[in-house]
């Protein structure tokens, strides 16, 4: 019944000891949608993302990702998603092609498919000449674009991006978003967290988490209208400053 949805969460909850890290969040993300997931540090974004990517089991509630249940089918989820974050991306001491081959292998692609995907990916990023360069020697912006392209080389149904553009220069940040648009146009669902409020505007819908709950969720234009303001920064600030819990 949820066939048009990539992600469905119902009262999804995670409790650590006495602490409700994620408190009954409910939402759905459509196929091919760019969905922004915002929140102050400690609001519960990372915990929510870990549940959705099959890395930790929820305490209660329900959720399915790419049609698979987060409680019972976490291995299938891992095979159908891509993941990229600013902190963990590629192996710095492997060459560009070695990283691609390594991740292709992890994603279960055969040698032939990997070769085709490698050529495509490098051509699109204009990195063909850098195929033998160590990833550690690439500028940060290139690394991030490469990491993103690798995270979708197996054509996953959904890609999770955890602050993918932190610290990246403004030109490269936009090139990165062009890659996100292209991926979404090809049908990949995008689930992205960011600290840049201008990037929240690039999402079709955003959810804003405060103290483990989703306090607002809508198209950026509607949120601004509801809060009678013309900046997402302001929307976010007004919600986030109500937070009682401190960051982690």
């Amino acid at each position: 019944m949820f066939s048009n949805y990539s992600i469905v969460a119902n009262h999804l909850t995670k409790i650590f000891g006495e602490f409700k890290a994620v408190d009954e969040i409910s939402f759905h993300v459509e196929k091919g949608e760019i969905f922004g997931f915002l929140g102050a540090n400690g609001a519960g974004k990372t915990t929510a993302m870990r549940m959705l990517t099959g890395l930790i089991k929820p305490t209660s509630g329900k959720a399915s990702v790419a049609g698979f249940d987060v409680f019972t089918e976490s291995e299938q989820i891992k095979r159908n998603i891509g993941y990229m974050s600013q902190k963990f991306s590629l192996y710095q001491d492997l060459k560009v092609w070695e990283n691609i081959e390594f991740y292709g292998g992890l994603y279960g692609m055969d040698k032939k498919k990997i070769n085709v995907a490698t050529a495509d990916l490098l051509e699109k990023l204009e990195l063909t000449k850098e195929i033998n360069v160590l990833v550690g020697d690439l500028p940060l912006g290139w690394k991030q674009k490469l990491a993103f392209s690798i995270s979708i080389m197996h054509k996953p149904k959904i890609v999770f991006l955890d602050e993918p553009t932190g610290g990246v220069d403004p030109v490269t940040r936009r090139q990165f978003w062009n890659l996100i648009y292209e991926a979404a146009e090809s049908g990949i669902t995008i689930f992205v967290t960011t600290h840049y409020m201008d990037e929240a505007e690039y999402c079709q819908r955003v959810a804003i988490m405060v103290d483990g709950k989703i306090e607002a969720m809508d198209e950026p234009a509607r949120l601004k209208k509801d809060f009678k303001t013309n900046s997402m920064d302001d929307v976010f600030y007004r919600l986030a400053r109500q937070a009682k819990r401190s960051d982690s």
Partner: protein, 303 residues
């Protein structure tokens, strides 16, 4: 308060990785000065040179009237430094860290308590907690207190707001405003372009080069192209379409708008509107706008 001339620095075996090239910078007494640039631009390297922690390959820097090489011991007493990475003692408590930093500068917490009072009251409920067990925002506040405890003439803050959410970032800049009123010169770096407008003057840095040093207002005034904010029904397609329009140099996403920049030629609202209309776009909105710091940065990166 800071004068840096011709500073260059390379890393690697043969110096093949140029971190800084021919940097000139001058910061006046009492100024809140921002060094704005992305990761890898060379911000931290410049901080380390100015705080006497590493030597430049060439060039000269004077901070608080003291040479960063010859007078480094004296200078260290006069500057406060908060590095980008949390570097306090994780296994000492909040109060112990503060007492320790006071003692190595031969002072006491009480002596300059007025400087840190605002910030410290928020930390006080946790004063017996180990620093390693503090939340990110609290660690940042403690680090700032420790950098202030000897009443430095100049405060160096390396990316104090990176990875910090909007609420804490706002609070932090308010604290800097209050410290500035105490007469402390502040040299702060950030990758967030929107923080630039909170500084008295800024330097934009990219790939080890200073692109511009100016007041935020003058920088924006110096943007000598026509710039438009544009909306249409299919934003990303509209962006691609506008790149082919005459006299248009660039079109890029900027929050809810596209920013469309002219090249040397003149462009009118009408040109953009008509082009989009002809290309089948709907809900078109075009307004002439003033550049932001981020527009200036992108413009300078290209030139």
């Amino acid at each position: 308060m800071i004068t840096a001339t011709n500073i260059s620095k390379s890393f690697g075996k043969k110096g093949q990785q140029k971190a800084l090239t021919d940097i000139h910078i001058s910061v006046k007494k009492g100024e809140l000065f921002g060094l704005i640039g992305p990761d890898g631009a060379g911000k931290t390297t410049l901080f380390r040179i100015l705080t006497t922690l590493i030597l430049a390959d060439q060039g000269k820097a004077v901070v608080a009237g003291l040479d960063v090489v010859k007078d480094y011991k004296m200078l260290r007493k006069k500057l406060g430094y908060m590095p980008g990475r949390f570097s306090l003692y994780q296994d000492l408590s909040v109060a112990e860290n503060l007492a320790f930093y006071a003692s190595i500068f031969n002072t006491t917490i009480e002596a300059n308590y007025h400087l840190i009072q605002d910030i410290y009251v928020q930390l006080e409920p946790f004063k017996d907690r180990r620093a390693g067990a503090l939340s990110g925002g609290m660690k940042q506040k403690l680090a700032l207190c420790c950098a202030l405890i000897h009443k430095p003439e100049i405060l160096f803050l390396d990316e104090p707001t990176t990875g910090v959410d909007v609420v804490s970032r706002k609070e932090f800049w308010e604290m800097l405003g209050r410290l500035k009123k105490e007469g402390i010169t502040i040299f702060v770096s950030t990758p967030y372009m929107d923080e630039a407008s909170l500084c008295d003057r800024i330097a934009l840095i990219q790939n080890g080069h200073i692109l511009s040093e100016n007041t935020p207002k003058e920088l924006v005034n110096g943007f000598n192209r026509d710039l438009f904010g544009v909306k249409a029904d299919r934003m990303n397609d509209a962006r691609k379409s506008l790149l082919s329009l005459n006299n248009i140099d660039d079109a890029y996403a900027f929050g809810e708008f596209l920013h469309v920049k002219s090249n040397k030629g003149t462009v009118y609202e009408r040109d953009i509107f008509d082009h989009l209309k002809r290309s089948g776009f709907e809900d078109i909105e075009v307004i002439r706008i003033e550049a932001t710091i981020e527009d200036c940065f992108m413009d300078l990166m290209h030139s």
